[in-house]
């Protein structure tokens, strides 16, 4: 199963792209996070959240979504 990963805010700067497709399999949100932190080491310095299919999810959750968003710290207002 192919997943689309989108990058927001400063994460878009770190990865140098707004999205990409991954074909690797991930058990949990945490395992996807670890994979991306290896690919983009600068992510280690950042506290970010992951959303699956437009819902923010816990690191321990099963990775089931096909649309994944990486959300850096929120700074609206």
């Amino acid at each position: 199963m192919k997943i689309k990963v989108r990058y927001f805010g400063q994460i878009k700067e770190i990865t140098g792209k707004s999205d990409e497709y991954l074909v690797e399999q991930f058990e949990t949100v945490q395992s996807l996070k670890s994979f991306l932190k290896k690919r983009y080491p600068e992510l280690n310095a950042l506290n970010f959240k992951i959303a699956q299919d437009n819902k923010i999810d816990e690191d321990s959750s099963h990775l089931h979504g096909t649309l994944i968003d990486l959300l850096p710290p929120f700074s609206g207002g």
């Binding site: 437009n54 923010i56 850096p72 207002g77």
Partner: protein, 146 residues
């Protein structure tokens, strides 16, 4: 009745005329006795000798609108409000311009005083909106909420 999810985002700064029009729009709702308004304005912060000239906002708009909808519903059930309007900018907003507008109305003052601070805090904390502070020399840093 389930309310449909509203889009809170507007492109660029929120013009003062929009705020005035919004107030005027409530004059026909004569059961209202109290309004309360929060306006977020872009601050020309000085950071290491450089001055912020604008903030460029981006967001995961689907999640932001969904979470804002949940906050809105929770606030309506907690406080006796007749109206609630929430707008946030996307894109570039210059220092001195308005980027965030929250407007609550009720028959009396207590619900609007109590609900507004909570709403503003919840929105700032829970909505995936990202501010990029652009300096006068066009360099930038990512905004961190206090």
């Amino acid at each position: 009745m389930k309310q449909k999810i509203k889009n809170i985002f507007v492109e660029g700064a929120i013009p003062p005329s929009k705020i005035a029009a919004s107030i005027a729009h409530h004059q026909e709702k004569t059961k209202i006795g109290a309004h309360n308004i929060f306006l977020g304005q872009v601050r020309a912060d000085q950071i290491e000798g450089k001055t912020v000239s604008a903030i460029e906002y981006s967001a995961q708009t689907e999640i932001a609108n969904q979470v804002c909808h949940e906050i809105r519903e929770a606030t309506f059930s907690k406080y006796d409000l007749s109206c609630m309007h929430i707008y946030h900018s996307l894109g570039k907003v210059k220092a001195g311009e308005i980027c965030f507008f929250v407007f609550v109305s009720s028959a009396h003052r207590k619900p609007v005083f109590d609900s507004l601070a909570e709403l503003v805090n919840d929105i700032k904390e829970k909505l995936p909106i990202f501010g990029k502070e652009v300096f006068e020399d066009q360099s930038h840093q990512w905004k961190v909420n206090q």
